[in-house]
């Protein structure tokens, strides 16, 4: 990246636990963005990446103010800021859409995870999901449910709202060699079989089969 970024790169790295160059950070953002876009399920939240990218954007904007207007570099930097902001916004939008679509299941998953496991929702996303649930329940009660017969005044959100379809097919590219991945049969005549995923190869598989590999970063959804 250009000098406007590298100036801050060194400052940034000192204050972070994980040393990452701006290039690596943006690459990680793009990976997270694509995975979230193509996965049918809500993935683990990457708030460290979001925070770092926001800091990066602020620095880039500050630097832009200092560069003289009309300088060719300024427009290139501006474009770069816009592109990064688009990817970040799109990533957050993808997540919000899934949270809204599957809200009871998302909240249940977060409530029932073990203490050591990484969280799916950032604290702010969790608050958003809870508010969405409360808002919707309040609305349904006020408009219809309270006028219904006594035994029908509640709606089980877990049953009413569909779950994410983990069996949907996704395209993926293999980043780390995986051997002996068990694939379920598609028809009754087939039996389950194993495949080896070679680095660099691309596949079309059911999300359920490779879901754990997405979290570890062994495959990239495309």
């Amino acid at each position: 990246m250009s000098d406007a970024l590298s100036e801050d790169g060194s400052e940034q790295n000192d204050s972070q636990e994980e040393l990452m160059t701006p290039v690596e950070l943006i690459a990680k953002l793009e990976e997270a963005w694509l995975n979230e876009k193509f996965s049918p399920d809500l993935l683990e939240n990457k708030s460290e990446i979001v925070e770092c990218v926001m800091e990066q954007l602020t620095h880039m904007e500050d630097n832009l103010q200092r560069v003289s207007k009309g300088d060719m570099k300024a427009s290139v930097h501006r474009m770069e800021i816009d592109r990064i902001r688009f990817v970040l916004s799109s990533y957050l939008r993808s997540r919000l859409q899934k949270i809204e679509k599957f809200f009871p299941h998302v909240l249940e998953k977060e409530k029932s995870r073990a203490d050591g496991d990484p969280s799916y929702l950032s604290p702010e996303e969790y608050a958003f999901a809870r508010e969405y649930l409360a808002n919707t329940e309040t609305y349904l009660k006020a408009v219809a449910l309270r006028h219904m017969p006594p035994n029908l005044q509640a709606v089980d959100m877990m049953k009413a709202v569909p779950e994410p379809c983990l069996d949907s097919f996704v395209f993926l590219r293999v980043k780390e060699q995986q051997d002996n991945i068990m694939v379920e049969p598609e028809t009754d005549d087939q039996r389950e079989y194993v495949v080896d995923l070679d680095v660099g190869s691309q596949h079309l598989m059911r999300y359920r089969t490779i879901a754990p590999l997405v979290s570890t970063g062994a495959v990239q959804l495309i």
């Binding site: 926001m54 006020a142 408009v143 709606v155």
Partner: protein, 196 residues
């Protein structure tokens, strides 16, 4: 036939072209709720009969009415929830202020839901990154170019851009402006992107 009114509500939503919000069918909802009340009361008396007078021949009709009650509940919830999804989409399409003709189609509880949703979304956006936050309702499309040609569709008065110059947005005037400044105005219908 039972449950016809609730199915009609759902068909009403299906008929309207994608995403648009038809008027809140208060009447239809009231009719479904009345049907539910009638079914429930009939069931109550039949259950008493069945228990008290041993009339087990009433059980099939009790079961039927119960199924109809469940169906009505489900259809009504589906109708109301689908409307909420359309209203949610309005926030992303139009911004925080809804045009009056759309507000007219919403009942007061739906407006309340919308206001609460707006607030939740704003809180979330403000919390992104820790400082001022990020307005994720902007940047809906990948940026293709830095500056775009726009035509002004209505008088909007003065508009200041980054380097301090003030542009007068008069109807039908055309300007070459930074894309990120125009996004909001394009979505509101004040400016129009001219593609040559």
């Amino acid at each position: 036939m039972f449950c016809e009114k609730s199915i009609e509500l759902i068909r009403e939503l299906q008929r309207v072209s994608d995403g648009q919000l038809p008027a809140f069918n208060e009447d239809g909802i009231r009719q479904v709720l009345e049907e539910m009340k009638a079914l429930y009361e009939q069931n109550q008396s039949d259950v008493n009969e069945a228990k008290g007078a041993g009339r087990t021949d009433l059980i099939p009709s009790i079961k039927l009415r119960h199924c109809c009650l469940l169906r009505n509940q489900r259809c009504l919830s589906a109708y109301l929830y689908d409307r909420l999804l359309r209203i949610r989409a309005l926030r992303w399409e139009y911004g925080s202020v809804l045009p009056p003709n759309i507000r007219f189609h919403m009942c007061s509880e739906e407006l309340q839901w919308f206001n609460q949703y707006k607030k939740s979304l704003a809180n979330f956006m403000r919390s992104v990154g820790g400082e001022e936050g990020l307005d994720i309702t902007q940047d809906m499309k990948p940026p293709k170019s830095l500056y775009i040609e726009v035509r002004c569709l209505k008088d909007h008065g003065e508009f200041e851009i980054d380097d301090g110059t003030i542009i007068l947005l008069k109807k039908n005037s055309q300007h070459f402006l930074p894309r990120w400044k125009c996004e909001q105005l394009i979505r509101q219908g004040v400016l129009e992107h001219v593609m040559s």
